[in-house]
């Protein structure tokens, strides 16, 4: 178990490093820079800005300074103090550097402010998606072929087909205008998270419902279910204790990608509901060529996806005795 975890963590670290270095190089080769604007600053000012953020260095040197706490500056930190920019501690020292777009904030500040909000939104979305999706899936499987099953399946297909911003629009119309019980957008209380998490979770709920239905149908047809019935176990117990445990496996495997999808997919929802989460930084940092923030978000998301996938594997193993983590070696 420990060896498994260590190995997976090492792989995760390698993945993060690979993603980080590729992104770093790609980003600096995209046309247009952080200081391009309709009204450009004078050449002298721009030169100073480039020096302040070390954009005048060769890419390898920028990357080395970005990754590690190596002091490679010719002028030393005092030079950067020229107009008070965070010196770069390096990612290994837990410092993602200063944002190029938001001059009053370090990337650490921006991530620390936004990540809990995105996490809360994603958690709520995924929670209700799981609760509703699994319930609907089970009902569908048990009532296979009935009108209820068909209705649930049509709803699920619609949920998957509709983009979350369309669902968001309908929800806003219904619950903020027609029947104004929830705030139209913004952030500040749990009420602000209801509509966005509903919109964000809807496609996932639909997908989970389909996965559960398929998994349950397969499980319900197994011999050991018949055995359980034959032994006289109440049908409720057969479903919850035996069938569900096997039938839910596809959902568990899906949780990793779903969690990643909720995180990265929240950007549209965050925009529509004006939620100050990480998703908006993900998009805006690329548009603004805010290299530091884009790198910060990329590294954070990569690390999160790695960790979430690992967690899913562990949970799956603990649910299914046939999967033993040690066996993988």
């Amino acid at each position: 178990m420990t060896r498994f975890l260590l190995r997976r963590l090492a792989w995760a670290a390698l993945t993060v490093l690979a993603v980080a270095s590729i992104s770093f190089v790609l980003m600096r080769n995209v046309r247009g820079g952080p200081f391009d604007s309709e009204r450009r600053a004078s050449a002298a000012v721009e030169k100073n800005l480039r020096e302040r953020y070390r954009l005048d260095w060769p890419t390898w040197k920028q990357f080395a300074a970005y990754v590690g706490p190596f002091e490679l500056g010719e002028h030393g930190p005092a030079f950067l103090g020229g107009d008070g920019t965070d010196t770069f501690g390096g990612v290994l020292a837990g410092d993602f550097g200063p944002s190029l777009q938001y001059r009053d904030a370090s990337v650490n500040d921006l991530l620390a402010q936004s990540l809990p909000i995105s996490a809360a939104l994603g958690f709520l979305a995924l929670s209700w998606a799981l609760a509703v999706g699994i319930t609907a899936g089970i009902v569908s499987a048990l009532r296979r072929g009935t009108t209820l099953d068909v209705a649930l399946r049509i709803t699920a297909t619609t949920g998957i087909a509709l983009p979350n911003f369309a669902i968001a629009g309908v929800l806003v119309l219904l619950f903020a205008f027609v029947w104004p019980i929830l705030p139209v957008a913004g952030h500040g209380s749990w009420r602000h998270l209801v509509l966005p998490s509903l919109a964000l979770g809807a496609p996932f709920a639909a997908y989970i419902a389909r996965l559960t239905r398929t998994g349950m149908l397969e499980a319900l047809g197994e011999d050991w279910i018949r055995t359980a019935h034959a032994k006289g176990l109440p049908p409720r117990l057969v479903v919850t204790r035996h069938a569900l445990r096997a039938g839910i496996q596809p959902v568990i495997s899906y949780l990793g990608p779903a969690a990643a999808g909720v995180l990265t997919g929240s950007l549209v929802i965050e925009r529509i509901f004006a939620i100050p989460g990480t998703g908006s930084h993900f998009v805006n940092s690329a548009l603004n060529r805010d290299y530091a923030l884009a790198m910060g978000v990329t590294i954070l998301y990569t690390a999160l996806v790695c960790v979430l996938n690992l967690l899913v594997d562990v949970v799956q193993a603990s649910l299914d005795p046939r999967i033993a983590l040690e066996d993988e070696s």
Partner: protein, 588 residues
């Protein structure tokens, strides 16, 4: 197996627990009491440091947090006393002396002095600050030379005090010497980057956080400002909470005790915020909503000091032929664009400078009269240039950034050129920063552009195309134009406007740009919000805002056109006036 069971027991509990905790953290301290008023401010400001700020969101916050020498009168837009209670100009117009108001305080209690102004202006000019608007002060004697003469480390080589004519004679006397007489200097002094910063607070911050003071000193707990409001809380991409600054010299005239500034870029979301009463003002609505908002009393479109035009790459054949450029400039159905695409009642424009400055008539693209006549002339010009049915004009690319109505505008123009002149025009769409880069490298034929006034004077537009200017990006460089601008810089009114008009006439003969329309801001303003007046710079200082009580609201509605639809206000029925105004009304 035991570990698996442990995991089963704890893993399943732990993961949600962590997430719930995260949810808790994200919401803790997140809710606010509703502020007296709120408004939508567009994108998250890039900085609250006034010298670093660039766009409208930053400017609107500077107006609330800081106050410069002069401010715009909300009704007339004319400069009125701010931190300077009075000023005088020397007879030759070269020296401006400002008397700084006694008893105006920074939020930390210290007095605002002329030294703070000198410090802030030096900071704006210093290339190490990285201020985009440093050039606003290049009219000051010695400023440009000082800022451009820098050493290896990027620092100016000469001392500021002995080389730049910006001096604090004493705590209350601020003296500025100019290169040439600048009669519109006050219009310039209104600009947001020219507000003071607290010298002692910034120096203390630099000493305390030598390598991260820029990040620290704008935080609410360290921020020191001198305007009508102070910074209470800032949540990136969410909102900025401001509270009335009691040490502000005119605090008695400020009505709102708290004010929220919302950061949200999505136009439809902002409209929703407004419609549900979350905000009292927003400056832009989605184009698709305009037809339905028209006729509402709170929809207040107003002409804006911004010019929409196309840059032409004059180095690239066939556009190097001025006859071709003129033919293209004439063959644009500007009214159709305003009516069908932008929809906000934009004024069709035949000049670079919007006709929105007092006393300014400027120049216009020479025209024969109606659009039909213009088209005849355009065809004639193309024939003269050697193009016709047998030798069509090579295909032209219309270059634009993928935003808002750009594509639709370009389609209308391309279609019109094809129908009326037989020209093939292709559309080339680029992401904003790529588009800017292509424009800078002159990798385009004709590129959709705009320019927003930095201050209320025609020079802010005309200087863009000066030979060698940083933002020209057309390949056009005409010494005659440069000479005219230089003459205008030295001239006094009214001669100066005449020379500038001459320069504009030259620009519109040479046509490195094809003018299209003058921008319109599409504001929504709660009917109860008082002290808010549309103005061409769209510059609004919340210092003047208040909630109208019922009686005043009814009174102001009485003057409305009967065709205008009244809408429900979300402001307090009893209104909210400044303490001074309350006393004035009580005594009446």
């Amino acid at each position: 197996m035991r570990s698996a069971r442990l995991l089963r027991r704890f893993g399943l509990v732990l993961v949600p627990a962590v997430l719930i905790a995260a949810a808790g953290v994200s919401l803790s301290g997140a809710s606010f009491e509703r502020a007296d008023a709120a408004f939508c401010n567009g994108a998250e400001p890039s900085s609250l440091d006034p010298q670093q700020g660039t766009g409208m969101p930053e400017t609107r916050l500077v107006r609330a947090l800081y106050e410069g020498l002069v401010v715009s009168d909300p009704r007339t837009g004319m400069p009125i006393p701010g931190m300077a209670e009075s000023w005088s100009t020397s007879a030759d117009g070269l020296t401006w002396t400002f008397r700084i108001r006694a008893g105006s305080r920074w939020t930390d209690g210290a007095e605002v002095t002329a030294h703070d102004f000198a410090f802030a202006w030096e900071r704006l000019l210093d290339p190490r600050t990285g201020a985009q608007y440093a050039d606003l002060l290049f009219v000051v004697r010695g400023a440009r030379a000082w800022a451009e003469d820098v050493g290896e480390d990027g620092a100016p080589t000469r001392t500021f005090a002995s080389n730049v004519a910006i001096t604090a004679l004493d705590a209350r006397t601020f003296v500025v010497g100019l290169e040439h007489p600048v009669d519109h200097f006050l219009a310039l002094a209104v600009a947001a980057p020219l507000v003071p910063v607290s010298r002692h607070a910034l120096e203390a911050a630099r000493a305390r956080w030598p390598d991260r003071w820029q990040v620290e000193w704008t935080k609410p707990e360290h921020s020191v400002t001198n305007g009508p409001f102070r910074l209470v809380e800032r949540r990136i991409n969410d909102r900025i909470r401001l509270a009335k600054h009691e040490g502000y010299w005119d605090a008695d005239e400020v009505a709102f005790r708290t004010l929220d500034v919302l950061a949200s870029e999505h136009l439809a979301t902002n409209l929703n915020f407004y419609l549900t009463g979350e905000v009292a003002y927003l400056d832009e609505v989605p184009v698709s909503a305009i037809p339905r908002l028209r006729g509402r009393e709170d929809y207040r479109p107003a002409p804006y000091l911004g010019s929409s035009f196309f840059r032409v790459n004059v180095a690239k054949p066939p556009l190097d032929d001025v006859r071709v450029r003129r033919a293209l400039a004439l063959a644009i159905d500007r009214q159709e664009i305003a009516d069908k695409i932008t929809k906000a009642g934009e004024l069709p424009s035949f000049s670079l400078v919007p006709k929105l400055f007092a006393g300014w008539t400027g120049a216009e693209l020479r025209r024969s009269g109606s659009l039909a006549d213009d088209l005849d002339e355009a065809r004639q010009l193309l024939t003269e240039a050697g193009y016709g049915p047998t030798r069509p004009l090579p295909p032209i690319e219309l270059h634009f950034a993928s935003q808002a109505t750009n594509k639709d505008v370009c389609e209308v123009i391309a279609d019109f050129w094809r129908k009326e002149l037989g020209i093939t025009a292709r559309l080339r769409n680029q992401e904003w920063k790529v588009y800017l880069d292509a424009q800078r490298r002159l990798e385009y034929d004709i590129s959709r552009s705009s320019w927003i006034a930095d201050f209320a004077d025609p020079a802010t537009f005309l200087e863009v195309f000066a030979p060698g200017a940083d933002n020209s990006r057309t390949g056009w460089s005409d010494a005659r134009y440069g000479d005219l601008l230089e003459r205008a810089r030295r001239a006094r009114e009214p001669e100066r406007f005449a020379i500038l008009a001459e320069a504009e006439a030259l620009l519109l003969t040479e046509l490195p740009i094809l003018p299209v329309y003058t921008f319109t801001v599409t504001s929504l303003v709660d009917p109860r919000l008082g002290g808010f007046h549309a103005n061409p710079l769209d510059d609004h200082c919340p210092k003047f805002w208040y909630w109208k009580p019922d009686a005043e609201l009814a009174e102001s509605r009485a003057g409305n056109d009967p065709a205008i639809r009244e809408v429900e206000s979300h402001g307090p029925r009893e209104g909210l006036l400044s303490p001074a105004e309350q006393r004035r009304r009580a005594s009446r």
